[in-house]
């Protein structure tokens, strides 16, 4: 199928191509919502059943790192949105700056994540890898004598959800690298900026997943 300029052969107009790309991306994001949805379901049910163990295990997480990460990711969403704006208004130089900023913030997020995981390994909190939950106060242990097992369940879900999210961040970073290379070559004009928009949609989606992960995993009964 031949391609004239930026218009692919199977489409009649650039607008039709843009609409198709945007609809296609949103449909893909719906599949991602259902994909993470299965994990959120498992988390919701197990937390409802083992509320005490999950609250206790959640206290092992470093809420400051989590909070900082949320802010970092929101900023990266902002810079990504600005990047899309630049591509729409033809500011090619500024587009590259904002894309690099988004990539950098994504890198910061992954760096913080790396330290958090390292801390878990250090504290023997990685499920299936000589998991040893520190002893808890007697009245907590009374409420749930299998707290070690249920805490391991919490950390299985914690690593499952944040690991999958981090994987999506890495894929997002790869897409951004490709996008920066294309933008540097000045490929994106107000008439054709579909890839920037598509990567933007993906990046914002990954941010939304973290917006839900942070309160669910980190902010359980912080008050006691």
């Amino acid at each position: 199928m031949h391609r004239t300029g930026e218009l692919y052969g199977q489409f009649q107009t650039l607008d039709q191509q843009r609409e198709a790309a945007s609809l296609g991306m949103w449909v893909f994001l719906i599949t991602e919502i259902m994909f993470f949805g299965g994990l959120f379901l498992a988390y919701t049910i197990n937390r409802a059943i083992y509320a005490v163990a999950f609250a206790e295990a959640s206290r092992e997480l470093n809420v400051h790192m989590g909070g900082a990460n949320t802010a970092v990711l929101i900023l990266s969403s902002f810079t990504m949105a600005m990047g899309v704006w630049c591509s729409q208004t033809g500011r090619k130089k500024l587009l590259v700056v904002f894309l690099i900023a988004t990539l950098a913030l994504g890198g910061v997020f992954l760096g913080v994540k790396y330290f958090e995981y390292a801390e878990k390994f250090h504290h023997h909190l990685v499920p299936g890898y000589d998991f040893h939950f520190p002893d808890v106060k007697p009245e907590i242990a009374a409420q749930d004598p299998y707290i070690n097992a249920h805490a391991q369940l919490f950390f299985s879900l914690y690593f499952g959800m944040t690991g999958l999210h981090a994987l999506h961040m890495i894929v997002g970073a790869g897409l951004l690298l490709w996008l920066i290379a294309q933008a540097a070559k000045g490929r994106f004009t107000p008439a054709y900026n579909t890839p920037v928009e598509i990567v933007g949609l993906y990046w914002h989606f990954v941010d939304i997943i973290w917006i839900f992960l942070f309160p669910l995993l980190y902010l359980i009964d912080r008050h006691t």
């Binding site: 052969g9 199977q10 299965g38 299936g128 369940l153």
Partner: protein
């Protein structure tokens, strides 16, 4: 009944998508939806015969109550891999990936699907997934049942479960991307004049199927991923020792796997909705209702999954709710069947092979659907759950329904795909053999099921032997029957009578272009001015309008 539209001597069009380029690269790197459809046809047929050979071995093993053919472990691997190969690698991709890929752009007047490169990626994901499954098959097999219930699949099974899970996980993305491609294509790339209510019902059925692809497949992807993580890292999402609930896996698994049975049958319904009007030469009865029924099946199909778990210790309240919803999903299917047979009334019916397969579909799908009501009704399900009654039910829907529809579709569009017609007489014989062999195989299993013979048993009490022998007899007829179409269709590719543009003639837009079609599908973007299946306002079809005396001397 000889084709009327084109004289048999007219040769094939000079340039078309098959001879436009030659060599392995032109096939393995193609982005032409028609070539990708043929790539799928080849690989899907391969997996059909892998799964089919397992089925034959199972049936031979069950000839005797003690079962002398294979050991218990091997028997468990046989039925598991029969299930996985047939469901994930044949039934789910067959009609959407082969006929859907080939025909949807042609039917809506587009040059190709919205994302041709993603379409090729879908095929490669399917191949990689299939490779992992074959790897798992060769290195010890899979013995967890196609349902992968935990904790057996995650803790106790020591067969090659992880590569099989990885294979199905990757194959799932092939379905997701195909569904995504279809939805975007149908929304944004219809030819001028092709409004939603002029779309052929085949396209409606695939739109509904794509909804299930998109919304259901990710959930089984995460369910199998979690089982894979449990096996690799020994962590505990569904591990009872760690407090995980095995029934939660069943919820996640069946949330996709029940709509998946509609993925398998809806496209076949789409094929029947094309074949019945063409060979009755009459507009489909209640076009809007049949189209709406497809969407209704796709949507309500998501509300009923826990009828697979009535005896799995779920709460009584949930069982009542899901049983009620399961009856609602049966209504649209009934509406479709009634509309098909209403189309026959006052038609001008011919008995070509596609019509035989379509009528076979209606007969067998009706039995399959009605026995589904037995399973949806709580009182009977407690008794027949996980017995051969269930096996017979879903084989009537999948083999009687989906495969009959698939074969009907292959025969109906074979002239469009290859430009040549299949041998009519031989094809009718094969259809009748398959229909009778099928009934002999699976009808006795209904009785076996109600007698209480459980599923997945390598030995059974002696009083069930007579029915099992009948079933095996039927299975041997089926095994032979399925070879016939493969043989004469391959023969027809080279030696079949040249078909011309519109041999039946049929009213779809795909029959306006050449057979086989050029790479760009249409010489110029077609303009659609007619209503679907309207034989009365289509002079281009060369048919007599009713009331006119048939002109003598027509060939």
């Amino acid at each position: 009944m000889s084709p009327t539209a084109s004289s048999p001597t007219a040769g094939l069009p000079r340039a078309h998508y098959l001879n436009q380029a030659y060599g392995i690269r032109s096939w393995l790197l193609t982005t032409d939806h028609k070539r990708i459809a043929l790539l799928y046809l080849a690989t899907v047929t391969l997996f059909f015969f892998i799964g089919g050979s397992f089925a034959v071995m199972i049936r031979i093993h069950l000839l005797t109550p003690e079962g002398y053919l294979v050991t218990p472990e091997t028997y468990n691997k046989l039925f598991t891999m029969h299930g996985v190969a047939m469901i994930f690698f044949f039934l789910i991709p067959s009609i959407p990936a082969v006929l859907g890929n080939f025909l949807i752009p042609l039917m809506i007047g587009a040059k190709d699907l919205a994302f041709p490169k993603i379409n090729l990626l879908s095929w490669y994901l399917y191949i990689v997934g299939g490779a992992f499954f074959i790897y798992s098959m060769l290195t010890g097999g899979l013995d967890t049942g196609w349902t992968f219930y935990t904790p057996y699949s995650s803790i106790y099974s020591n067969s090659a479960v992880t590569p099989a899970i990885l294979g199905i996980f990757i194959n799932g993305f092939s379905s997701i991307l195909t569904g995504l491609n279809f939805v975007v294509t149908i929304h944004t790339m219809r030819a001028p004049g092709m409004t939603w209510f002029r779309l052929p019902l085949f396209v409606w059925a695939h739109y509904a199927t794509s909804i299930i692809f998109i919304l259901g497949t990710p959930v089984i992807a995460i369910a199998l991923l979690l089982v894979g993580l449990e096996r690799i890292f020994h962590i505990g999402f569904f591990n009872p020792q760690m407090g995980g609930d095995p029934v939660l896996f069943q919820h996640l698994f069946w949330f996709y796997s029940h709509p998946a049975v509609y993925i398998m049958v809806l496209p076949a319904m789409g094929v029947v909705s094309e074949v019945i009007p063409t060979f009755s030469r009459k507009a489909i009865f209640g076009y809007h209702f049949v189209a709406a029924a497809s969407l209704a099946i796709a949507v309500i199909g998501f509300l009923v999954w826990a009828h697979h778990m009535f005896v799995a210790g779920q709460s009584t309240y949930a069982a009542l709710a899901f049983s009620l919803l399961s009856f609602l999903v049966a209504i649209p299917s009934a509406v479709k069947v009634f509309n098909w047979i209403a189309t026959l009334y006052k038609g001008s019916i011919s008995y070509d092979t596609p019509m035989l397969y379509a009528l076979g579909f209606i007969g067998l799908f009706t039995i399959g659907g009605l026995t589904g009501l037995f399973l949806a009704s709580l009182g009977v399900d407690v008794h027949v759950h996980d017995t051969y009654f269930v096996v017979a039910h879903f084989h009537y829907i999948m083999v009687g329904g989906a495969i009959m529809g698939y074969l009907g579709g292959i025969h109906f569009w074979w002239p469009k795909i290859t430009g040549r017609l299949y041998p009519e007489f031989l094809a009718r014989i094969a259809a009748i053999i398959l229909f009778s062999g099928f009934n002999l195989t699976f009808f006795p299993q209904f009785i076996l099921g109600y007698l209480g013979m459980p599923r997945r048993y390598h030995t059974y009490p002696p009083e069930f032997q007579v029915l099992n022998v009948l079933s095996t007899a039927g299975a041997s007829i089926l095994a032979v029957g399925y070879l016939l179409p493969m043989l004469y269709l391959t023969w027809a590719m080279r030696y079949g009578k040249v078909a011309g543009r519109n041999p039946w003639p049929a009213t779809g837009l795909e029959w306006q272009t050449e057979s086989p079609p050029p790479t760009e599908n249409f010489d110029k973007t077609p303009e659609v001015t007619w209503e679907p299946y309207d034989f009365h306002h289509r002079p281009d079809l060369g048919l007599a309008s009713p009331g006119l005396a048939p002109a003598r001397g027509d060939d």
